[in-house]
């Protein structure tokens, strides 16, 4: 595991990007993405610049169709940029995928129904690394299940788990890869309000313990403020970043953070930005 991390670090040392993005763990520069839908070229992302510092927690928020999921997919190497560059730990997303630097979590837990929680949590690690021993993969997966408070549920199949628990398995599966970067696309979007808050706390706890660089795509203003150090607000037509808002709430954040004075202010600012971008999008 450590060997891989070192090669990644060595790689990032070898490339010579400019000073600002050298410090950034994920650097997006002048990124534009065009999709061809039914023969028509469409710009889904326009001239995006983002620098995510190492170990930071950053949220992307914006109206539906603003391309925030596409931006995440570009970072994950699933969509290629039309213009501009994206680097993760100093290398292209494609190389980052090969070096297993990226962990992904989606809105749907996407667990394999024929495998139990433990096997699901170990599944991607065993897919990514053919040489890893089964026992080692399971040991690592079990440790990650413990980290997401799922110890004791290892033998349960996905249909025996609640929505929140399934999403915890999905997070454990991503963490089992020991990625440097965790990319999450509305991971709590399908959960009820109380479970969402629980999961937010669980995620914050994981971030504080592991210091992964996390990029979260979300619809929820609450979630963005509670979790992030920085929120990028995106607008439509064509999709771009309209403002980057630092969240200065102190860490560690707890239940009480919701009622901290800075919280309401940040929430209000985000809300007005989103309403504004919504109006523009309709025009």
């Amino acid at each position: 595991m450590n060997v891989r991390v070192m090669t990644a670090a060595a790689r990032s040392a070898m490339s010579v990007p400019d000073a600002a993005s050298a410090r950034a763990h994920i650097a997006v520069r002048g990124l534009s993405v065009d999709f061809t839908v039914e023969g028509r070229r469409q710009r889904v992302l326009n001239d995006i610049d983002i620098a995510v510092p190492k170990g930071s927690f950053v949220s992307l928020i914006g109206p539906s169709g603003c391309g925030k999921s596409t931006l995440l997919k570009v970072m994950a190497g699933l969509v290629s940029p039309t213009e501009g560059t994206v680097t993760v730990a100093g290398v292209s997303p494609h190389e980052a995928v090969k070096a297993r630097l990226i962990g992904l979590v989606f809105q749907e837990a996407t667990l394999l129904p024929w495998k139990n929680a433990l096997e699901n949590a170990a599944f991607l690690l065993m897919t990514a690394d053919e040489t890893v021993k089964r026992a080692d993969a399971f040991e690592r997966a079990a440790a990650m299940l413990k980290l997401v408070d799922l110890d004791g549920a290892e033998k349960k199949r996905p249909n025996q788990l609640s929505g929140g628990m399934r999403q915890r398995v999905a997070i454990a599966r991503a963490l089992a890869l020991d990625p440097e970067v965790l990319l999450m696309d509305e991971p709590f979007g399908a959960l009820d309000a109380i479970t969402r808050e629980e999961m937010s706390e669980c995620l914050l706890d994981i971030w504080e313990r592991t210091h992964k660089t996390i990029v979260l795509v979300t619809h929820s203003i609450d979630e963005a403020v509670f979790l992030s150090r920085e929120v990028h607000v995106m607008g439509t037509g064509p999709a771009r970043i309209i403002e980057t808002l630092p969240i200065t709430l102190p860490h560690p954040r707890t239940d009480e953070s919701y009622s901290a004075p800075g919280f309401a202010a940040a929430e209000g600012r985000l809300r007005s930005l989103l309403i504004e971008s919504h109006k523009k999008g309709r025009r």
Binding site: K73, A76, G77, L78, V97, K98, R100, I102, G103, L104, F106, Q107, E108, T110, L112, P113, W114, F123, L124, T127, A128, D149, L150, A153, K156, R157, N159, Q160, L161, S162, G164, M165, L177, T195, E198
Partner: protein, 274 residues
């Protein structure tokens, strides 16, 4: 950790069997009622046996001819078994080829659908012409009838994998082949089993049709032979054996599904409609 846990009810095999038998009771009672009614109608209106035999006459024929019926059942079973297994293999291969070699698949798929519109019964004489009266023409007929549901259901299963599964696999650099092997194929198994259940019933039909077209053994042959002798009770007796055989084959496939893909969604034809 306050998430609710949904434990699946612990059901033992024995309890399932008992419950199954109890749920069969209404069907058995209805069948019994119909048989009694049939017997009464035949006796009251003096219907000649060669037109429609009474259940008692059919039962007598069944007992009297048990040995030739058993031999015929064995011959037919062999055809069904070989035909079904080959149908499954062909169906699975067709689905895999269509998904794996997309361009070729786009060319192949319409041809297969077109071929489905050929009345397969009409092919039986041609197969007899080519391969004689042995096992081969029957197996071939079964395959052309029964591979289609296997191929179509397997194809649907392979293609119904959520895109996020594929993204997830790609995010760790998994190749197309690996995604196929680790996600698509296992995901398609419940669909495949549904296709196999259709295929096994088609296989029994195929075997009987093949025997009608030309055979010197098997239950289809017995039915044809009995009809030339106006031995209607024997026709019905053979029909009963065919039905029981078909049912037995069907439940073997269902058992295989239960053992191989326990995660498959359970199908309840009556309650799912409500």
């Amino acid at each position: 950790m306050t998430d609710a846990t949904f434990d699946a009810p612990a059901v033992t095999a024995g309890a399932t069997l008992g419950k199954g038998l109890r749920s069969l009771m209404p069907a058995l009672l209805l069948a019994l009622g119909l048989i009694v009614f049939w017997e009464l109608v035949i006796r009251l209106f003096n219907v000649p046996t060669f037109v429609l035999p009474a259940p008692s006459a059919i039962f007598t024929a069944l007992v009297k001819h048990w040995k030739p019926l058993l031999i015929a059942a064995k011959a037919t079973s062999l055809e069904v078994l070989f035909g079904f297994v080959l149908s499954a293999i062909v169906g699975i291969l067709v689905a895999l080829v269509i998904v794996r070699f997309e361009r070729f698949g786009r060319a192949l798929y319409p041809l297969i659908v077109l071929f489905q519109n050929v009345p397969k019964v009409a092919l039986a004489p041609i197969f007899i012409l080519w391969f004689g009266y042995d096992l081969a023409p029957k197996i071939l007929l079964i395959v052309v009838i029964a591979f289609f549901p296997v191929a179509i259901d397997m194809l649907a299963g392979l293609q119904s994998v959520e895109p996020s599964f594929v993204s997830l696999m790609r995010s760790v650099g998994a190749s197309k082949g690996k995604i196929m092997l680790r996600v698509r194929i296992p995901h398609s198994l419940p669909h495949l089993m549904a296709g196999l259940k259709v295929a096994i019933t088609f296989s029994v039909i195929g075997a009987i049709v093949g025997e009608f077209a030309g055979a010197n053994q098997g239950l289809g042959y017995v039915i044809q032979f009995a009809s030339t002798q106006l031995d209607t009770p024997l026709i019905f007796a053979a029909l009963i054996v065919v039905s029981v055989l078909g049912l037995a084959f069907y439940y073997v496939v269902e058992l295989a599904e239960y053992l191989l893909v326990p995660w498959a969604p359970k199908f309840d034809p009556i309650h799912s409609a409500g």
